[in-house]
């Protein structure tokens, strides 16, 4: 079959600065193609790669992209793939430094009063038994007061227990997770003031989480307990979430290469191998353009 005359085509990837296009393509998937005027390719790169990356983040409850150097190379294989997605994964490097700061530690007392939305569970502890109770949803107000030698953190929980309105007085047993850490919930637990009709061997407490600031949670490294909790609750979905973010990074390598070198097989309507060459056919990457 004789090849038809190829239409004149612009090789847009050769018309702009290759370095700028490559850097843009790395930082934001699709941005390099947008810079080159290749809008049709910029859209799927942007949507597919970032959609896969943030979809994985959502599946893994925000605790799948982090920089935790655990080997002699100073970078985990997970993060090596994830960081290829560009700007969305770069904050992990700074978050690791922030998380290692001595001031980033669990709190057993508060320096200033705390008021925050709270979701969690009522926990009954008595002897060898510890049973999770109903679901709590509401607002928590806590402050640390000095009562003698040991400061005590007291306050109230106001909200619902399994949909029924409740209010608990809180005192003692206070623990608040470190400020900078993975996940958008910050673990909090506190004991409930003993009631007159309560069993002498039984004690009640609340365990749950308050919101963590986005800037403290995004790409922050999780501690061992958080990873175990995620694996227990999410199971293989957590592994799938990690795979999503890694695949997104690896796909962006293809996009970066495309922004620098153009499409691997050309425009896609070139004559098949064996067909007689067409004069002026400049459609293959790197060959002289007819334009």
């Amino acid at each position: 079959m004789a090849a038809e005359q190829q239409p004149e085509r612009r090789k847009r990837w050769q018309e702009k600065n290759v370095l700028v296009a490559g850097v843009l393509a790395y930082l934001i998937p699709g941005a390099g193609h947008l810079y080159q005027g290749r809008v049709f390719k910029a859209v799927p790169y942007f949507v597919c790669i970032l959609g896969t990356f943030f979809g994985g983040m959502k599946l893994g409850e925000g605790a799948v992209v982090y920089h935790a150097p655990t080997n002699k190379w100073g970078i985990s294989l997970n993060y090596l793939a994830q960081v290829c997605v560009g700007a969305p994964a770069l904050p992990a490097i700074r978050q690791t430094q922030r998380a290692k700061a001595p001031s980033n530690r669990p709190l057993y007392e508060l320096s200033q009063p705390l008021t925050a939305p709270f979701t969690g569970r009522l926990v009954t502890t008595g002897g060898a038994n510890e049973a999770p109770g109903g679901k709590l949803d509401g607002e928590i107000r806590l402050q640390t007061v000095s009562t003698g030698v040991i400061p005590e953190t007291t306050g109230t929980f106001t909200g619902t227990l399994d949909g029924q309105p409740v209010e608990f007085q809180l005192a003692g047993g206070f623990l608040l997770d470190r400020p900078i850490g993975a996940g958008f919930g910050r673990h909090l637990e506190s004991s409930i003031v003993r009631q007159p009709d309560q069993h002498p061997h039984e004690s009640l407490s609340i365990r749950g989480s308050i919101p963590r600031a986005f800037t403290d949670a995004y790409c922050a490294p999780p501690d061992e307990e958080t990873i175990q909790d995620l694996n227990r609750r999410l199971g293989k979905v957590y592994d799938l979430a990690v795979a999503f973010t890694m695949i997104a990074g690896l796909l962006n390598i293809l996009a970066i290469w495309d922004a620098i070198e153009g499409p691997a097989y050309g425009f896609g309507d070139e004559p098949a191998p064996g067909d007689p060459p067409t004069p002026g056919d400049g459609s293959k990457p790197g060959s002289p353009s007819v334009a």
Binding site: R38, K41, P44, F244, L251, L254, G262, Y265, F267, G268
Partner: protein, 79 residues
């Protein structure tokens, strides 16, 4: 056009996945679609070629996974 039909189907699937109403294996379908589209976009420049090649690649990936599933299902039958 068939490739756009896939996009519409994927949108519905994303909604179900977000609601947690599908088995975890179904997460592989949008992943296969994304890989097909990005890989094809990096191979070709013309939109029609990209979409048609992505559609074929998607079917190949899903077909391969279905074949592996069928083999595993056959050998694990009755276990």
């Amino acid at each position: 056009m068939r490739p756009w039909g896939i996009v519409e189907g994927m949108s519905s699937m994303f909604a179900l996945l977000a609601a947690g109403e599908l088995h975890v294996s179904f997460y592989l379908l949008p992943l296969a679609a994304v890989i097909s589209l990005v890989y094809s976009a990096s191979r070709y420049e013309l939109p029609d070629k990209i979409l048609s090649r992505a559609f074929k690649l998607f079917l190949q990936i899903v077909g391969f996974m279905a074949a592996v599933f069928a083999v595993l299902w056959f050998f694990s039958f009755g276990l």
